[in-house]
């Protein structure tokens, strides 16, 4: 009988103790032992706000809307209550946003960007912003629809994207050929070979023109001795020499042109886009330059018949 009484007494005491602790804890949780902090929120509409809507800071509920009503100017005033221990999260620069998610009830989100800012005094009135997702959905859907239609148009079977991709594929295919990039841009190995050949020939031509200029130097030296000879060649050849001067100027300009063409040719390989456009012009100019150079050499040959290799080969 004694142990029975002891057991029942222990049971009752433990249960009562737990019950009392729980009730005290609930009293603490509901803020029975501390002050209530009040706050007013001004809003343009009370849509979605009702007594009991939670105030949430960083995802944790810290208070609730107690009542709401109209002020003298017809604006909405929402009264919210927080426990004093939670009021420390409210700062003067805090923002209050009404969140109405698609799932779950409405809540007032509090954002305090600077927790070192001065605390919000009690009973102050703050502005309640609204971010209503449900209102934005139709607009969003319209815009997404338009974007999707565009994407669909671009990716249709004979669409631009597909065409571009096909072109790109042929181009990269050509690029893997013998002449690489050049073939890719010009379209076929034959054309690419034409360009490289032209470049080779231009190089040869420049070397020839170089040696020609050296020869001209030598001739000028010989002419000097002739010129100052006592038998008066200078006098006889004065007109002829004036002509040669003109021809030399012409040759110089031709050389300059060839030089510019060379630069252009280098630019072709660098800036292929312009190169393809200039390719025809380049070809004619090279031809022209070579023709002129040939004419010059022939002319000189006529005047100076001791020249050995007068021919400049056309590419």
């Amino acid at each position: 009988m004694k142990t029975l009484h002891f057991k029942v007494g222990l049971f009752a005491a433990t249960t009562l103790l737990f019950g009392a602790i729980f009730v005290l804890y609930i009293l603490y949780a509901r803020g029975f032992f501390e002050d209530t902090y009040r706050l007013q929120l001004a809003a343009s509409t009370a849509d979605g706000v009702a007594p009991g809507v939670p105030l949430v800071f960083s995802g944790i509920e810290i208070g609730r809307v107690s009542t709401l009503g109209l002020n003298d100017n017809g604006g909405i005033v929402i009264h919210a209550e927080l426990l004093a221990r939670n009021a420390k999260w409210l700062k003067e620069n805090s923002t209050f946003t009404l969140d109405k998610p698609i799932v779950g009830g409405a809540k007032i989100r509090i954002d305090s960007p600077d927790l070192k800012a001065p605390a919000l005094p009690e009973n102050s009135t703050m502005l309640l912003l609204t971010s209503d997702v449900t209102k934005e959905i139709p607009i969003l859907v319209e815009r997404v629809k338009a974007i999707l239609a565009n994407v669909e148009h671009l990716t249709r079977k004979d669409g631009e994207v597909n065409g571009t991709l096909a072109n790109l594929e042929t181009m990269t295919g050509r690029m893997t050929g013998e002449y690489g990039m050049l073939e890719g841009i010009l379209g076929s190995p034959e054309k690419a070979r034409g360009v490289t050949d032209s470049l080779d020939k231009t190089r040869a031509l420049i070397t020839k023109l170089d040696s020609l200029a050296l020869k001209m130097d030598g001739m000028a030296a010989k002419a000097d001795t002739w010129l100052f000879a006592p038998d008066g060649v200078a006098l006889q050849t004065r007109d002829a020499l004036a002509q040669v001067k003109l021809m030399l100027a012409d040759a110089q300009s031709s050389l300059k042109k060839a030089d510019a063409l060379m630069t252009n040719a280098v630019a072709i390989s660098a800036d292929v886009k312009e190169g393809t456009q200039d390719f025809a012009a380049l070809r004619t100019e090279i031809d022209d330059a070579v023709r002129k150079a040939n004419a010059l050499v022939n002319e000189i040959n006529k005047k100076w018949p001791f020249a050995r290799d007068p021919e400049v080969k056309l590419p």
Binding site: L4, I26, G59, E61
Partner: protein
């Protein structure tokens, strides 16, 4: 035509029967309440019987009951948490756990537990006493059965259901905190906030009232069912059967009414 009359007659008999049963139950409850308000009732002997009843109904089964509550709570908490995580509704999981387990399921299961264990025993015992004329004998010996047999059982039942449901609820709260936040105090503030939201004083009062009514139902109905047993031994099982059916309906009715009051 005779068939119709007969069926109406049988329906009328049934309704009258229900009314009689209901009247008997409430009349018995009223008498026991009156008796419990009488100062002369509360002597040393009555206390002893009440303590004995609490011991047999609550203390004796405590380890088994708490183990059972632990397993059920753990299972349900895990299910709710997993589902909530799958649907991205973790924010509502702890509130859901408290509402489902502490407010509804655990008190209900406690009442069922005590009804099956003690209610059926009380029903059989009272029916046997009635059949064997023991109740009359007790009354004859100046040991009024109401004071020494029935009232202590009612009080023991009420105390047992309230305390057991409370302990199981506290255990479930602890378990749900551990399941959500683990062994750390990190979630204490958030959990406190949720508890404050769920347990206002109306809810707390309603919970205790509900448990008290459960406790009454699982003892009062078996006692009255036992008392109305005809004095034939073979009627004892029938009496237990009827009594347990009534207990079951009463428990469900109390639960339904409490839910309706809370959420409608």
């Amino acid at each position: 035509m005779n068939f119709l009359v007969a069926s109406i007659e049988s329906l009328g008999a049934k309704v009258t029967g229900w009314f009689t049963v209901g009247y008997d139950i409430f009349a018995f409850l009223f008498r026991s309440l009156l008796l419990s308000l009488d100062r002369a009732t509360w002597n040393r002997a009555t206390y002893d019987v009440v303590i004995k009843q609490v011991y047999f109904t609550a203390v004796q089964i405590l380890p088994v009951f708490l183990g059972y509550a632990l397993v059920i709570s753990w299972l349900i908490i895990t299910i709710i948490l997993t589902t909530a995580r799958d649907f991205g509704l973790t924010a509502f999981a702890s509130e859901m756990t408290i509402r489902v387990l502490v407010l509804e399921l655990l008190p209900f299961l406690t009442a069922l537990f005590i009804a099956l264990r003690s209610g059926s025993a009380i029903n059989t015992e009272v029916a046997l006493m009635k059949v064997n004329n023991e109740l009359d004998a007790l009354a004859h010996c100046k040991v009024p059965p109401m004071q020494f047999e029935f009232l202590p059982r009612l009080i023991g039942g009420v105390i047992s259901v309230i305390t057991l449901a409370g302990l199981a609820g506290l255990l479930a709260l602890l378990l749900s905190y551990l399941s959500i936040y683990g062994l750390s105090m990190a979630g204490f503030d958030a959990f406190t906030q949720i508890l404050a939201k769920v347990f206002n004083f109306k809810i707390l009062f309603g919970l205790i009232t509900k448990c008290a009514l459960f406790g009454l139902a699982v003892t009062l109905i078996p006692i009255t069912a036992g008392l109305e047993t005809p004095k034939k031994l073979f009627m004892v099982p029938v009496s237990v059967l009827r009594g347990m059916m009534r207990v079951f309906f009463a428990i469900v009715a109390i639960e339904v009414v409490s839910l309706a009051l809370k959420y409608i």
